[in-house]
């Protein structure tokens, strides 16, 4: 039994969740915790999709709404709304999704590249596509979701406050 | 094993001496200068004193003189840790009442051999 399991190529375990009717997966190894929705503290001068920060056992962790990140609308935050706390290296952040579904094993060999999906989904944040029990699961590339430099660039692009402009 | 007082203002040298001696099973008291060594010597008797010569507050030579004035330290071996370039300091140490010396640099093996030499 044991040997059998070890012999097979280790499957990727993915936590799947739903977002606007689609199914996404995030590598279970990156997931630290799943929490029900709770109020966050807003942070000024941040993109819309960063809802704010949360106290996670003393750490101040930013929370991002994946709907807003993908340019979708969010009607409300309710009982089903869930936050998945993920870790990239030492950094933690949370993503808000509609609901968590399941943990599934995905054969790495069965992962397909992401086709161009036009404007429907921002494919920059996807690693690939996989089929699991007849359903398509989009595998999320969490590292790309909140890279600090990404955030900085966005910030710089905003017509925000610049000390140099004092001159006028 | 023996109870040894190690005196050196250099924390690294003192650390090396103490660590080596403790490794060999001795009980070591550390002191940063002659004055503190004297305080430690008064507080309890030691079987051997190893002391640097150049130290702030009270140097090794003065410390030996003071130690020898204590009844409990009349015949206790005191070795000066000294560098080869200062023969006259060695003799100054002797004159103050030191038993002998150990020439710097020395390694842990040399230190243990010398300690064994004095303690028998």
């Amino acid at each position: 039994m044991y040997e059998d399991k070890q012999a097979t190529a280790s499957p990727l375990q993915q936590l799947t969740f739903s977002l606007a009717g689609e199914e996404y997966g995030v590598d279970i190894l990156a997931v630290r915790e799943i929490r029900s929705w709770s109020r966050v503290t807003r942070i000024p001068q941040t993109p819309d999709y960063v809802l704010g920060v949360l106290n996670l056992r003393g750490a101040i962790v930013p929370i991002m709404d994946l709907r807003l990140r993908f340019g979708l609308q969010r009607e409300s935050y309710g009982d089903d709304t869930v936050m998945i706390i993920v870790a990239i290296g030492e950094r933690l952040f949370g993503i808000v999704v509609d609901a968590v579904s399941d943990v599934v094993d995905i054969d790495p060999a069965a992962i397909k590249p992401v086709p161009d999906m036009g404007a429907v989904v921002d494919t920059r944040y996807l690693k690939g596509l996989a089929t699991c029990a007849e359903r398509m699961v989009m595998l999320l590339d969490v590292e790309k979701l909140m890279r600090p430099e990404d955030v900085e660039t966005l910030e710089a692009a905003l017509p925000a406050v610049q000390e140099v402009e004092v001159a006028a | 094993m023996a109870k040894i007082l190690a005196v050196d203002d250099s924390a690294s040298m003192r650390g090396m001496v103490a660590f080596t001696l403790r490794g060999a099973g001795h009980e070591v008291t550390e002191a940063e200068n002659g004055q503190l060594a004297l305080d430690a010597a008064r507080a309890s008797r030691h079987d051997l004193v190893l002391a640097d010569v150049n130290m702030p507050v009270m140097d090794g030579i003065a410390m030996v003189r003071e130690l020898r004035a204590l009844d409990a330290y009349k015949g206790v071996p005191i070795l000066m840790l000294t560098t080869e370039s200062h023969t006259e300091r060695k003799m100054e140490g002797k004159a103050a009442g030191a038993t002998g010396w150990l020439v710097k640099p020395f390694d842990p093996e040399q230190l243990l051999a010398t300690v064994k030499r004095v303690l028998g």
């Binding site: 942070i43 001068q45 750490a59 004092v166 | 080596t20 702030p56 560098t83 710097k104 004095v118």
Partner: protein, 661 residues
Amino acid sequence: MSAVDLTQFHKTFFEESLEGLDAMEAALLALGAGSTDSELVHTIFRAAHSIKGGAATFGFTDVAAFTHVAESLLEEVRSERRAVDAELVELLLRSVDALRAMLDRSGRGQPVADAESEALRAELVRLVSGEAAVAVVVAPKAAAVSGWDIGFVALPHLLQTGNDPLRVFRELQQLGRLEVVRAFIVDGAPSQLSALDPTQCYLGWDLRLHGATTRADIDAVFDWLDGDCELAIKPLAEAPAASAAVAAVANEPKPAAPVAPQAQQAIASSETSSIRVGIDKVDALINMMGELVITQSMLSEIGEKFEISQLERLRDGLAHLERTTRELQESVMRIRMLPIGSVFNRFPRLVHDLERKLDKRVKLELHGEGTELDKTVLEKIGDPLVHLVRNAIDHGLESPAQRKAAGKSETGTLKLNAYHEGGNIVVQISDDGAGLNHAAIVAKAQQRGLISVGQELSDAEVAELIFQPGFSTAAKATDLSGRGVGMDVVRRNVRDLGGGVGVRSVSGKGSIFTITLPLTLAIIDGLVTAVGSERYIVPLTSIVESLRLRAEAVRKIAGGGEVFHFRDEYLPIMRLHHAFGCVDAITDIESGIVVVVEEGGRRMGLLVDDLLGQQQAVVKSLEAHYRRVQGISGATILSDGSVALIVDVGGVVRLGRSKAA
């Protein structure tokens, strides 16, 4: 027995050596300034001596070789065979620098000596008289013989030196077969037993040592007894013709000198740095822990079987617990506090070097060296201070000729002062130089496009210009205060520490740069304010007053800004809900509260909904998991577990200015 791993002592060796070099430098500077205190020479000598001993022991042979020559030179000074002059001080200061660099390279496992250090060493060697004669004297080849006759008479005081004839016998026995030919009591020994002093030794021995032993081996046994005994050592009369054996001994390869391996591995110079804590601070902690334990046991006793009659005791106990906890917290924070003197200490040398380089005369005064700062702040404040000191000497102080012409003493004064003020540490760098040149600053700011031509500026505003990014960058950048770094970088560095920097200047009289730093980084006293559904903490140290304004007290000014009258001046109002984009906040000024804050001499009113109370806030970084946010210095966790952001007053003031602009 396993060999002792000496690398564990390297870090300590480097630390103490660097401290020794600092002490050496300070003493050299004092000597250079004309002090004749003989203790200074001893300090310098002792430092060099310790470094040499440690370096040789721990296998840093290049460092040991270098210090050896420096020490020889210092020995001449100590024994008054050489006078201290400016050149010698300069040479030794350069040696200090070279040693610092060598130690640094040792720590990183790089080749230690370089061309520069070798050249300096050669210079030192040339100076040391008769250094060449110090070459190792090769002992004449020892002829082995079949044995030795040793006459050994102890002097009465031998036992008092801690030596023991038994040790001599033991060691001689290890060299060969030892025969005691005769043991005797020396002349002059008390004839009566009652007069015998047990600490005195009156014995002598005639010994014969059999075997092929060299004279040097025997001398080594007696080396510590020089002056404690009379010795007569003669080879045995009948030397055997065992020349083959002699040759064998002579040809025996000498064991290689025990040289500890040069440290290859860099000492882990990771960020896990250590901190030295005074024993008094540790004792204070232990005392408070004791208090805490007592209070805890008292409280649990009350809790065991609580009756309402004990309510008073419970209250007392809780009050005591609160007090002890607070004290414990303060003591723990105090562990991280180190005196600023360690940073100030580098300035005598810097000033000394700058004087020579710039041909100026400067008297440096240091005050408040004992003022303690958080270790992190201390480590990061050095560079900004160096910059300000360089700047003061380069641009602030005039040349001796100019000073004389202006009716001032030819020697300028530069003062560094550190002190507590409120919850802050203030560090001032003041000089009695020419002061800021307003015309030049305005001209430069116009040229750089920072201000428009014809713009009217107050003195404070002009002074503020030098901190603007872009003001000093492309300047001629003399290699001293320039280095391509401007005052804006100084200000940014200080702000990163949660502090501020400003300048006051009087033309012809001098300038004062004032750095304000938080006492500790980790905890602040804050006022919790409500803005809509959010909570913002305003550091208490920057609050001047809080007040409720009447609508008519507020004036709208051109461009949409609002000001109000406060203590003879008009202050701008910054609506925090605007700055931070809160939608559900009070917008009517009369219903809200204005918190007057001050930063770097600038005041402004922050409009909030309400004040919720004062609280100590443990500052948490937003950057750990997110990034810096302008106007926010960090976050803290409120008692209900929610997060509140801490307002960076300086940042908000700047935010306000740029929004107004």
